[in-house]
């Protein structure tokens, strides 16, 4: 593997970690929203 592959791997890994966290946050948001809707009913 040349050094550019390591560079790209590090940058992709960084954004994959942040992206995963944002997906987890979006799921939490949806769950809270569902609970709010059920409370209103």
């Amino acid at each position: 593997m040349n050094s550019m592959h390591y560079l790209y791997a590090a940058y992709i890994a960084t954004w994959a970690i942040h992206g995963t966290y944002l997906v987890i946050l979006a799921r939490k948001y949806k769950k809270v929203r569902r609970e709010m809707e059920s409370l209103r009913k």
């Binding site: 590090a10 960084t14 946050l25 609970e35 709010m36």
Partner: protein, 228 residues
């Protein structure tokens, strides 16, 4: 409030794009390591951001123990959670940088690497405690754990001053010199990551406030149903 988050999101997106361009194209190529050294522009700002978030967690935990204000407890939780995300970036990008430069993924027993891993594990256990403990004392126990956990932050930073390690000297206060153009790109990337951390923390804080309000309303509702 919503408008503030939208403006911050746009500023963060623009700053991250510019920082990425500067890191990959704008910054000069390092003479000995070559292009792989550009990992530095993500690795170091992520570490600084994680340290800052753990410092906020430390202060919020102390304030919570003194005043028992739920808002400081939420701030402590959010800063630990986002701090773990940035610390994970450090733990992952470090070995990817080490492999082509040192010839190994992980220097076993190296003080900087070990203390960083311990720091990450402490805050992971903090989050596990907060996620699964149902005791009413959880915020207090978590605050105490956070105060002890934060003691590892200066140990991580200063470990390379007092022990022999493969890790390079710190960029600030380490005695080494950094090309001014590289320092400029490093600061742009740090500013971009700080904006990202602020945006994500703000969103997560609001979500946690609403979540706790919903939980309180649910508890009240089940109490009322029980009394009927």
């Amino acid at each position: 409030m919503k408008r503030g988050i939208s403006i911050l999101a746009v500023v963060t997106a623009l700053l991250l794009s510019f920082a990425l361009y500067e890191a990959l194209i704008g910054a000069p190529t390092e003479r000995t390591m070559g292009d792989v050294q550009r990992i530095f522009y993500y690795h170091v700002p992520s570490a600084w951001t994680a340290f800052l978030l753990f410092l906020i967690n430390f202060i919020a935990s102390i304030v919570y123990l003194i005043r028992r204000n739920p808002k400081t407890d939420i701030l402590a939780l959010v800063s630990a959670e986002v701090g773990v995300v940035f610390c994970t970036v450090v733990i992952v990008t470090g070995p990817i940088w080490a492999r082509p430069v040192w010839g190994i993924w992980w220097a076993a027993g190296d003080i900087r690497l070990t203390t960083t891993l311990v720091l990450w594990l402490i805050y992971i256990s903090y989050l596990v405690l907060r996620r699964f403990s149902t005791s009413g004392q959880t915020p207090v126990i978590a605050a105490v754990l956070a105060i002890f956990g934060a003691l590892d932050v200066p140990l991580v930073y200063f470990s390379i001053w007092f022990f022999r390690t493969q890790h390079p000297s710190p960029v600030i206060g380490g005695g080494g010199s950094l090309d001014p153009r590289m320092a400029h790109v490093l600061l742009i990337n740090w500013a971009a990551f700080l904006c990202l951390a602020w945006l994500v923390s703000w969103t997560r804080y609001r979500l946690e406030v609403v979540k706790r309000e919903v939980e309180e309303a649910q508890a009240l509702e089940s109490l009322l149903e029980g009394s009927r």
